[in-house]
């Protein structure tokens, strides 16, 4: 605070603010903004403990989000998912902007910002991104498997494998 000249004692008692009074940023703490929705979820989980172990909500929307511009907070995710997801969401032509960040290395959290055009919503873009990435993974896995099988079939590889097996046998015999 460069302009600060008064000491704390100068300020009238009732006007003094403590750290707890002032929000740390313009955004409200999450519990107040849209916490209700998430809390409902958790309560739901507590009510019937038999229905699957209460998996804590791993994605939430950060406060200050709107329909077409939202920030999502993922728990227990990192660059592995963040970067690939960012890429695939950005590929969606209805998405204006998408970026991810890991706000602090010692918190296991990943934030993803999505801003879309009016044609879709941020949440829909996220859902589509997840699905698209899964499909892309399918393609990669299929492609790998076909190529791997094909590679196996080349005579050169067969010969190499045989040689290796013979070497091993010879070593075992000696």
């Amino acid at each position: 605070m460069p302009g600060r000249t008064k000491t704390r004692d100068d300020a009238p008692e009732e006007v003094d603010t403590s750290m707890d009074d002032a929000p740390t940023s313009a955004q409200q703490p999450a519990e107040e903004e849209n916490g209700d929705a998430m809390q409902e979820d958790e309560e739901e989980g507590e009510e019937d403990p038999f229905e699957e172990e209460e998996e804590p909500q791993r994605v939430r929307i950060l406060p200050g989000s709107s329909e077409t511009a939202a920030s999502f907070e993922f728990l227990k995710e990192g660059h592995t998912l963040g970067n690939a997801l960012r890429y695939i969401i950005m590929k969606n032509p209805d998405v204006e902007f998408c970026a991810y960040a890991i706000p602090h290395p010692s918190e296991d959290k990943m934030n993803l910002r999505i801003q879309t055009y009016d044609t879709t919503t941020a949440a829909a873009a996220l859902a589509k991104g997840l699905q698209d990435l899964e499909d892309l993974c399918d393609v990669v896995a299929d492609e790998f498997w076909t190529q791997r099988e094909k590679f196996e079939a080349t005579p050169e590889q067969v010969r190499k494998r045989q040689e290796e097996a013979e070497r091993r046998q010879a070593a075992q015999a000696s």
Binding site: M1, P2, G3, R4, K6, R8, V15, D16, T17, A26, Q27, E33, N34, D36, A37, M38, E40, D41, Q57, R58, V59, G64, S65, S66, E67, T68, A70, H79, T80, L81, N83, A84, Y87, K91, N92, P93, T121, A123, L126, A127, L130, D132, L133, E134, L136, C137, D138, V139, V140, A141, E143, F144, Q147, R148, K150, F151, E152, K160, R161, A171
Partner: protein, 338 residues
């Protein structure tokens, strides 16, 4: 939307879809080139193969007798690092997810070891001396990986005359993110742009980087930059050279497939989680003002407040009763930064 789908289905898949070319493969190695994908996906694949493909490794050791020269924890650590066969690991559940109290045959494999040196020569205790318990999901899982021609496996410790080692181990499923002993790979080579056309590397040199740095083995696969060619600012890497090196607990090609699967499992988990919350509360609670920067209180007292936060009274911006309005610094009403 439509355009996007079309692109994905036809052109995209045939002309630009991910391509793989395998250049070497055996039990322990797969070298392949992944092309026509973004670097982010290639790196995700590398990261997930490195740290998140589940395998099985010794996690708990109960030592009954240890009169060897090595400390208990030292031997336990060595046991943990022995690679164990992890075929069909999907049939084994994580101990933390299992219904059992501590561990059972559905989430662990037991191995025992009992060795005593009675002769005058130094006795060597190897991984092959571990006795794997029964009731396993399959007959392979948990077997120590033995690759040497003599069939010995890793050396655990040496015993002199009269020394004895008796212990039992519980091997559990885990991932390398938690401890490197669960890693399916010893190394993953990952490189792209062998000619450094993209300038992602800033090569150190004395006179000439070109002459002083050795060429990558993939240098002749890609076109070297033409003399005096200007830097292409729009270029992105698209060919990635992987060299996956397994350690025998999972087949090398299975590491890649498992890696992709693990990535998909992550995504499926999130899709599932999102779908669930969508059904219950519409994912995002109701319509709100487009800028969304109004305070929480603003949308709770519905029917009265404007999306821009009822002016004057209690909004964070309006000054007055909020903490912002009454800073001790005498600049009340403004934003607090003087």
């Amino acid at each position: 939307m439509m355009e996007y789908d079309n692109m994905m289905d036809s052109d995209f898949k045939e002309d630009f879809g991910p391509k793989i070319q395998v250049s070497a493969a055996d039990r322990y190695h797969v070298d392949f080139e992944l092309s026509n994908v973004d670097i982010s996906l290639a790196n995700s694949l590398r990261r997930v193969m490195h740290a998140e493909v589940p395998t099985i490794a010794i996690d708990l050791v109960e030592i009954e007798v240890n009169t060897s020269v090595l400390a208990d924890e030292f031997i336990s650590h060595r046991l943990g690092l022995i690679p164990l066969n992890s075929s069909e690991i999907d049939n084994l559940s994580y101990s933390r997810d299992c219904d059992c109290e501590q561990n059972c045959e559905r989430c662990s494999v037991t191995l025992t070891l009992h060795a005593k040196c009675t002769g005058d020569e130094v006795m060597k205790v190897y991984a092959r001396d571990l006795v794997v318990g029964f009731n396993r999901p399959n007959s392979e899982i948990g077997n120590p990986v033995i690759t040497d021609p003599d069939g010995l496996g890793s050396l655990i410790c040496k015993l002199r005359k009269g020394q004895e080692l008796k212990l039992s181990c519980i091997a559990k499923k885990g991932i390398a993110k938690e401890h490197a002993k669960w890693s399916p790979t010893s190394a993953i080579g990952f490189e792209y742009d062998p000619h450094n056309k993209l300038h992602h590397l800033d090569l150190w040199y004395e006179q000439d980087a070109e002459a002083e740095w050795p060429k990558s083995k993939y240098a002749d696969v890609e076109e070297p930059p033409a003399e005096g060619q200007p830097f292409d600012y729009d270029a992105v890497p698209s060919r990635f050279y992987f060299e996956v090196e397994g350690i025998g607990n999972i087949q090398s090609d299975a590491i890649i497939l498992e890696g992709v699967k693990e990535l998909q499992r992550k995504l499926a988990g999130l899709i599932h989680g999102l779908g669930e919350s969508e059904g219950m509360n519409g994912e995002y609670d109701g319509p709100r003002s487009p800028d969304g920067m109004d305070t929480g209180a603003g949308y709770l007292e519905q029917g009265y407040s404007t999306p821009y936060g009822n002016p004057g009274a209690a909004s964070a911006w309006g000054g007055g009763a909020t903490a912002y309005g009454t800073t001790p610094y005498g600049n009340s009403g403004s934003n607090g930064w003087s």
